[in-house]
Amino acid sequence: MKDLIQKLVEAWGPSGYEHQVRDLIREEAAPYVDEMRVDGMGNLICRVGNGDKKAVIAAHMDEIGVMPTFVEPKSGYLRFTNLGGLLHTSMVGARVRFEDGTVGVICTHDYFGAGRTTVTDLNDFFIDVSDGESENGGKIPAGSPATFWRTLETRGTRLISKAMDDRIGCVVALEAIKRLNRNTPNTLYFAFTVQEEVGLRGAKTAAFGLDADVAIALDVTATGDFPRNSKMDVRLGGGAAIKIHDMAHIVPAAVRDWMIARAEADGIAYQRELLTLGSTDAAAIQLTGTGIPSGTISIPCRFVHTVSETVDVRDVEACVRLLVGLTANPITL
């Protein structure tokens, strides 16, 4: 699983431009699925099995990033807007990578002086893409998106990456697809979605026409286990987080209990997740058609939306086992 994690978290896929990630996932999933298609938004939908009960399992392919909107005419610095929720405190010195492989560096005016604490407006930041021969090289026109750029790091059971949100969810889905190896009494639609970070937009169409009985989103969740953090009872290493409630989604009790019962039956470590900021694709999917009961299996993650999103591989394993348990058995809700 480590190789798969590295391949996916280091892939390039800002919101709206997920094609490289989609190609990787398509290649990984192909031997284990019955059918694959891409919908009008760009979601990759993989069907496994042909049973009566139908489930949609969603993980989003996109990651937060930046969209250059203007090239400064003299200096060549790029001005940009956000793709998803950027944290201004983590941007000075951050590296971003464009589709052609160019790595740029974000900075702001006077970052060593007054800007140290006061810069909060995205218009005050810029990206340096000079290469010594020219200030821009003409290679990066406005409209060329970029993602933050770091390689995967490992520290014991901890894994650190720019894009755990939500490539680790994609890994959980892919790993489950492989372990199931088509052995399911249900019809499973694994939806690798686009544009989650800009407002759950891919998820609005991913479940269209599938007539699903239940949906499960796979995504990271914040943890409450660092100093002076808000009170939240999810910690790294505590197991799969079963969502109870978040900003945009109240998980139906039947879905919640279905997940908890499976975790207990299979002896999988789990924790109850109550999140006060943020949501997942499940919030959009639950409103598809006449409504789909939906839940979320969350991977606990420290420092979400920084370049150092940190998860624990034991939690990832717990999430895979829980998902396999839920989908390999007849779905009863």
């Binding site: 919101s15 709206g16 431009y17 094609h19 919908d39 009008g40 938004m41 760009g42 979601n43 969209m67 250059p68 909107t69 203007f70 005419p73 001005r79 807007t81 956000n82 793709l83 026109p141 406005a142 409209g143 544009q195 800009v198 407002g199 937009r201 891919g202 609005k204 169409t205 269209f208 026409g209």
Partner: protein, 351 residues
């Protein structure tokens, strides 16, 4: 305007606020009659018209332009006959004092009250709640005899050709889109693709008409035609020596604007790239806009049903959402050419 844009003056001067687009719809229906294979008014009030393509198994391309405009609504009456009002759509308080308006179906003339400089030395911006509209009535009864609570209030603004190239009018957002869409339908020839024209309602208050129209038309791809903000006004932050530096968004007269991202949509990458390539091969100037503010009907359209690849083509207008927006004829002509180039060249494999 003669030739293309024949209906722009009438569209600009017609009044149609969100939820009450009847008069605009009448102009649209008259303009497109006989130029589409079917014309329908949907339950929301949007006009959808289908012009069949010439190709085999043609792509179904929705083109959307919204009929509604921003304005105000009558909320109540003061004892002295002055009228309380509120905004419909995104409007700012700074343009209110002294504004000339037309109220209700009878287009009763009025003016927003205005405090002269010797009474308002602080030059503070008066909030809409503290302002009133004066229609010349001297009592509540007289005012209520002319207008009703809930009547829509529109800018009182005449369409004027300021020069050979520059046109002034209200509601270019989005009557310029309606005018372009009319010209697309009235073009002599059919296109290879099916054109699914949607003149939508209630865009300014939340993209409501477009959502229903797109779900019903179920297109393969969509173009949204808009009037957008031209940002080429003097920038107080510029150093005087750098006054000629362009501002970091769009300029009037520099060509149609292709949106990369706005507040509610990321343009479909391949459709956007196709539009750029079409402009370049046709020698049509264009501009790129990518500020994550503002939104268009595209925000609703691209996420209906199984998802719709969508991109936005806007005309850069100065002073949008005021009674006096400016539009450059060259942008209009270039915009129309670009739309036609896309319709003539778009193939399924682009999507």
């Amino acid at each position: 305007m003669t030739g293309n844009g024949h209906y722009l003056k009438e569209l600009s001067e017609t009044i149609g606020l969100s939820g009450n687009e009847d008069a605009v719809r009448a102009v649209v229906l008259r303009a497109i009659e006989g130029h589409a294979d079917s014309i329908r008014i949907d339950p929301m009030g949007s006009v959808t018209a289908i012009k069949r393509g010439t190709g085999e198994n043609p792509l179904r391309v929705m083109i959307a332009a919204h009929m509604d405009e921003v304005g105000f609504m009558v909320m109540g009456f003061d004892g002295d006959g002055l009228i309380r009002f509120t905004a419909i759509g995104g409007l700012e308080d700074r343009l209110l004092p002294g504004l000339r308006v037309r109220i209700g179906d009878q287009q009763v003339r009025g003016v927003v009250i205005w405090t002269p400089i010797h009474k308002n030395r602080e030059q503070t911006v008066a909030k809409i709640a503290s302002l009133r509209i004066d229609i010349g009535a001297t009592s509540k009864d007289e005012a209520q005899g002319k207008i009703k609570r809930g009547d829509r209030i529109a800018f009182d603004s005449e369409f004027v050709e300021l020069s050979d190239k520059v046109l002034r009018g209200k509601s270019f957002d989005d009557r310029v889109g309606c005018s372009l869409l009319i010209d697309v339908l009235r073009g002599d020839h059919a296109y290879p693709v099916d054109v699914l024209a949607a003149f939508t309602v209630q865009e300014e208050i939340g993209l409501r008409g477009a959502q229903v129209a797109a779900r019903t038309l179920d297109p393969d791809a969509a173009l949204v035609l808009e009037g957008t903000r031209a940002n080429d006004v003097p920038n107080p932050l510029d150093e005087p020596d750098e006054a000629n530096e362009p501002n970091p968004t769009t300029r009037m007269g520099a060509g149609p604007v292709l949106t990369v991202i706005d507040a509610n949509m990321i343009a479909h990458p391949r459709l956007l790239a196709f539009a750029r390539a079409a402009a370049e091969s046709e020698g049509i100037p264009y501009q790129i806009k990518g500020r994550a503010v503002g939104g268009t009907d595209g925000g609703a359209i691209h996420v209906v049903n199984g998802g719709v690849p969508t991109t936005v083509i806007s005309m850069p207008c100065r002073y949008i959402h005021t009674p006096s927006a400016l539009l450059h004829r060259d942008d209009y002509e270039h915009g129309l050419r670009l739309i036609k180039a896309i319709l003539n060249g778009l193939r399924r494999d682009v999507l």
